[in-house]
Symmetry: C2
Subunit: 379 residues, 2 copies
Amino acid sequence: MANAILEQLTTPSLLVEEARFTANIQRLYSHLTPLGVLVRPHLKTVKSVEAARRILAGGEGPATVSTLKEAEIFAAAGISDIIYAVGIAPQKLGRVLAIRRSGCDLKVVLDSVEQAQAVAEASRQAGDPIPVLIEIDCDGHRSGVAPDSSKLLDIGRALESGGAALVGVLTHAGESYEVEGPTALVEFAERERLAAVSAANTLRQGGLPCPIVSVGSTPTAHFAQNLDGVTEVRAGVFAFFDLVMAGIGVCSIDDIALSVLTRVIGHQHERGWIITDAGWMALSRDRGTAGQLIDQGYGLVCDERGCVIPDLIVTGVNQEHGVIAVRPGSDGALPDLPVGTLLRILPNHACATAAQFDRYAVIPLEGSDLKTWQRFGGW
Amino acid sequence: MANAILEQLTTPSLLVEEARFTANIQRLYSHLTPLGVLVRPHLKTVKSVEAARRILAGGEGPATVSTLKEAEIFAAAGISDIIYAVGIAPQKLGRVLAIRRSGCDLKVVLDSVEQAQAVAEASRQAGDPIPVLIEIDCDGHRSGVAPDSSKLLDIGRALESGGAALVGVLTHAGESYEVEGPTALVEFAERERLAAVSAANTLRQGGLPCPIVSVGSTPTAHFAQNLDGVTEVRAGVFAFFDLVMAGIGVCSIDDIALSVLTRVIGHQHERGWIITDAGWMALSRDRGTAGQLIDQGYGLVCDERGCVIPDLIVTGVNQEHGVIAVRPGSDGALPDLPVGTLLRILPNHACATAAQFDRYAVIPLEGSDLKTWQRFGGW
């Protein structure tokens, strides 16, 4: 990518390398399709219709979302099978029903009898049995019912007898972000599978339906070796990857498709600092590599072509200032980068960094002009 | 504020208590005006024309901004005296000149001879002497020239002889966020003043002009006792305040005017967790109180009326999930908050939390209907 093209962009800007993005998507489908499951990408990372088209099977789904705003926008774009994978608050059911009336088969997630009763009541009133997946807790990470809990059948019965539609179970191995290396990730994927399959069996043995068995996180999706009993896998950050994923061994640094374009705006030579115009407003405050073997600060620095500058990281951020320095402990020298120099910063966490921008500047697979993919935020 | 009004809002939403906001603004002006200085609020916190009107003297300025997008939007709203307080990259001078041609006296900041030469060159080419403040480093925090550096005169001469207009010096005691208590803050304010005044004197003794002597940060603005030689003070977060400011003793918790409205979406009773729909996407990843005497996690929890629930904090966040628990070490009990309950979260850092939203829902000083103030992001 010639300098002249990036020179047109305001700094900071959010860049996508389409070649890497496309290869990352192909890699996930190539791994999962032979395992006999559907891929249901999580669109919370990209939040962009143009990007979603490239990620979804056939460009149209199925899909996972983290907000009703995402559900509304992707439903309006014609994506007709969506799971809203955050525990439902009863006050949101009006919006859920409206999205369903628009022609999208939106499903919700919950983990308590009180939520099940509220969804059943709303289903009855609307004459539309809202499809529900029961959230299963496979790793103590966040929400969900233990796979062996007696609550499972209570929730299932409250749904089915109340007028909603129990359509499956869903789990997410969020703790897989905290382990490292193939052995641990293979084990985590199996743990995620077992939790979901065992919960599904409990429901079926109790006489309840459970057609969908949904698991997934980017690490477990890539390291699952056996998905017997699972019907679909969700993953979000797989299309961009980031330094956290590289740190746990899910990708290499060279797979990361997302970066923040920034310019040098000053120096503090005595302190070994280069100052840029990408602070936390552009990079986010995410410090996801802080607990990893290699702490990447607020991001790893590349030159304008995207080549990593060894051991150069963002060590500090203010709102619109980044401080770049040699990684503590390294004996590398600070390169000479005059004011105005363009750099790219690889992010710790693609979801958090992308969320700070309203568009992607896409370095295309073919041709030489940048493309723009709009993205959205909000709820 | 009756429950029924907040019930209309999507969760998460960003709330402003206008009564607190107004009192906070009055407090800053009441302190600074008798000290004989101009107040030049930093609009990077609010990023809203409606909010800016209430913060700026006479509704129109002067103002400080952190991005050229802010400068463009506030200039279009009629604010005619703005400092862009982030070191200028030469590639941004085209936009600077366009904003100046639109009728706004936009000033830029720099700290090197190479930047000064670029600004001088652009000034000459445009026939418009761009006004420049030299950034002074008063505390080793970030950018700026040491107040006793010989570079000061070199930069000043490069500007004045080259066709730009040297109009002053500017410093920001960013490190004042790291100290605590009135004695330390009073000392920090004096250190900030001395750095700026001494740099201004160096320029004047070298035969250069220095009409503007600009200092400020919310802590030092509130604790300055003597501003002799200073012409103006900048502050940003003062209008909202936040938990970081409360932690260093600049305000009380009850002064904080900004909060995130959220709903309970689940429980993990065995772990003592309440799950909400405000994760890092709503609260930001800012952990500014982590190093303070009281670590507030990702935010302090209030009931829907805004009353603090003692020792209840957000202990963990995912993208769209918050985990609320009793503060580690406290013997308080977890309150019974059913699914659907509305809560408000006070933020660690108002600038970071507000940046996650595109509008404020304002609980008004008078009347009972919520108002909306739009806000913007981007560069």
